[in-house]
């Protein structure tokens, strides 16, 4: 377990070192790339709570990226640039949307759950396309980034990089605390054997719903970050392929492991970026690569770390 901690600490140090190294090498692009990766990593970490630990295969997690992003965008559209307000709304609105979607979908299991979460996200996607006020299909520009009482300037790529890093580490810590609490034990137990849980007196529904809401809220935060990162909000935030990507990050990195989703996000997006630099047909290479990963790393990338992919 100690070797594992060392490896992970080295990863964090490496992330801390990216901005100065990129600046020294004159490769500012990498600050941007890794920041984007970390934002998606937060989304993956949030999905891991319900997918990895709860066994709820949500195929609509991009919805909350969209809700979080549009919360920031719409407030800014009406001249509200206060980041505290914007981001609080992003989290609250995502939690509320997750509450409604979850209240219905969490009653179902397996393929039905996948389809219902997908269907709700598609509804939001088409809602985004149809509202002309906010740019419809083309989306809307975020002319002014979120303002945090002068504490942090999101126009500064390095400052927003470190903000994303801090939030990512915070998200990993939060989810790790949650899954080891009584609440998390109920969640994981129900994934392991729901009949047994019911027999000893747990009704899984309220716990699943709460996890679904927390997961959505956290992903909404990632959405607020993403809106500031791209400075452009479009319905494509909620595209179903985006949901698939986030799910893939979790599975690739290692479900129900603390570092897995972040590892998955890095592997997927960095490899994607590298391949895209090599050839226009990068997807032809990425696809088989991912299939091989899933086949050979059963416990995900986190399973390759010292200490293996054990959750605990």
């Amino acid at each position: 377990m100690r070797a594992r901690t060392l490896v992970l600490a080295a990863c964090v140090l490496l992330l801390l070192a990216v901005p100065p190294m990129a600046t020294a090498l004159g490769q500012l692009y990498y600050i941007d790339l890794i920041r984007r990766v970390m934002i998606f990593a937060i989304a993956a970490v949030s999905l891991n709570l319900i997918l990895g630990y709860g066994g709820l295969v949500s195929f609509g997690h991009a919805a909350y990226l969209g809700v979080g992003g549009y919360s920031v965008g719409i407030l800014a559209f009406y001249g509200v640039h206060n980041g505290w307000l914007q981001w609080s709304l992003a989290i609250l609105a995502s939690a509320l949307v997750a509450l409604v979607i979850g209240a219905i979908s969490v009653r179902t299991r397996g393929i039905y759950f996948i389809m219902i979460t997908l269907a709700f996200t598609q509804m939001l996607y088409y809602l985004g396309i149809s509202v002309e006020e906010y740019g419809g299909d083309d989306g809307m520009r975020l002319k002014v980034k979120s303002q945090f009482s002068g504490l942090i300037d999101l126009n500064d790529p390095v400052a927003s990089y470190y903000l994303a890093l801090a939030l990512l580490l915070g998200a990993i810590y939060l989810v790790n605390r949650l899954v080891n609490s009584r609440f998390g034990m109920v969640l994981r137990a129900a994934k392991s054997n729901e009949a047994r849980s019911r027999a000893i007196g747990f009704s899984p529904y309220p716990y699943h719903l709460a996890a679904f809401v927390i997961s959505g809220a956290l992903c909404g935060l990632a959405g607020a970050l993403l809106a500031n990162h791209t400075a452009y909000i479009t319905p494509a935030f909620m595209d179903w392929t985006r949901s698939g990507e986030i799910m893939f990050m979790v599975i690739l990195g290692g479900m129900a492991t603390a570092p897995g989703p972040a590892l998955g996000a890095f592997a997927l997006l960095v490899v994607e970026d590298l391949l895209a630099g090599l050839t226009q047909h990068w997807q032809v290479i990425l696809g088989p690569l991912l299939v091989l990963c899933v086949l050979f790393f059963r416990r995900g990338l986190a399973g390759l770390l010292p200490g293996g992919g054990k959750h605990g």
């Binding site: 609440f183 034990m185 109920v186 047994r196 849980s197 019911r198 000893i200 747990f202 009704s203 716990y207």
Partner: protein, 249 residues
């Protein structure tokens, strides 16, 4: 019977044309071990599942401690004091033995909307769980992943989980099924230690176990109880011998 803790009246459950439970009435007194025997397909597990709340009966009623529980779900009944073991061992295979029992303790220690403190560091959960593992003889195996326990140990673990909920009624579906001779003797010995302290409904094929443990025996054939009474009476009943025991003697 005034002191019956469980009263089942005219319970019926059909699967298509098959009447798996065909008007069962049953009374179990507090502290009694009541065995239900019968040939394969008699509807024993269907009955247990209705008692535990996993299956909803088509008609009839189940009263427990004077309260109608017919429409309560399995988790609600668990909080009324029901606990069950399954015919096919049902445990949390990817958790340690201690975690398994600690979860059962947790299920009866208020709500679990506690998000921060590490559950595995809570003495209020771990200590009763450890004591219960000791009691069933799994004390030395507390840290072992449940999936890696021997079959008999897994059965013991399941009983430990049921007992950790401090049940008023224990529903055991073939607790010694698939066990070796020695294991099954140990389990029977353990269960006989519970006699009088717990109310137990026991479904079992192993006749030695049944006649050692049961205060009363009901014989279930094709969804009906054809005989009920003290073990010796039931064993002597000619109808029972013909329908069931006859094939063994």
């Amino acid at each position: 019977m005034a002191d019956a803790i469980l009263e089942v009246r005219e319970l019926r459950k059909s699967f298509g044309a098959l009447a798996a439970t065909d008007g069962i009435s049953l009374e179990v007194r507090e502290g009694e071990t009541h065995a239900i025997i019968g040939p394969n397909g008699a509807g024993k597990t269907t009955l247990i599942s209705q008692l535990a709340g996993n299956l909803r009966p088509d008609s009839g009623s189940i009263r427990f401690a004077g309260e109608d529980v017919t429409r309560l779900s399995a988790p609600q009944r668990a909080h009324k004091g029901f606990a069950r073991s399954f015919q096919i061992t049902s445990i949390y295979r990817d958790f340690s033995a201690l975690d398994n029992v600690a979860l059962a303790v947790q299920a009866h220690d208020g709500h679990s909307f506690r998000f921060w403190r590490a559950a595995r560091e809570e003495r209020a959960l771990r200590e009763p769980a450890r004591a219960m593992l000791e009691e069933v003889g799994l004390g030395a195996r507390a840290g072992v992943l449940a999936a890696n326990l021997a079959h008999g140990e897994q059965r013991q673990l399941e009983v430990a989980m049921a007992l950790a909920t401090r049940p008023r009624l224990l529903l055991l579906d073939e607790p010694v099924a698939g066990m070796g001779l020695e294991e099954s003797q140990r389990m029977v010995q353990f269960l006989s230690g519970l006699k009088g302290k717990r109310t137990i409904i026991l479904v079992e094929h192993d006749m030695d176990a049944v006649f050692t443990l049961a205060d009363r025996v009901s014989v279930l054939v094709y969804g009906r109880i054809i005989a009920s009474g003290a073990p010796a009476e039931v064993r002597a009943n000619p109808e029972v011998r013909r329908a069931y025991l006859g094939e063994e003697s």
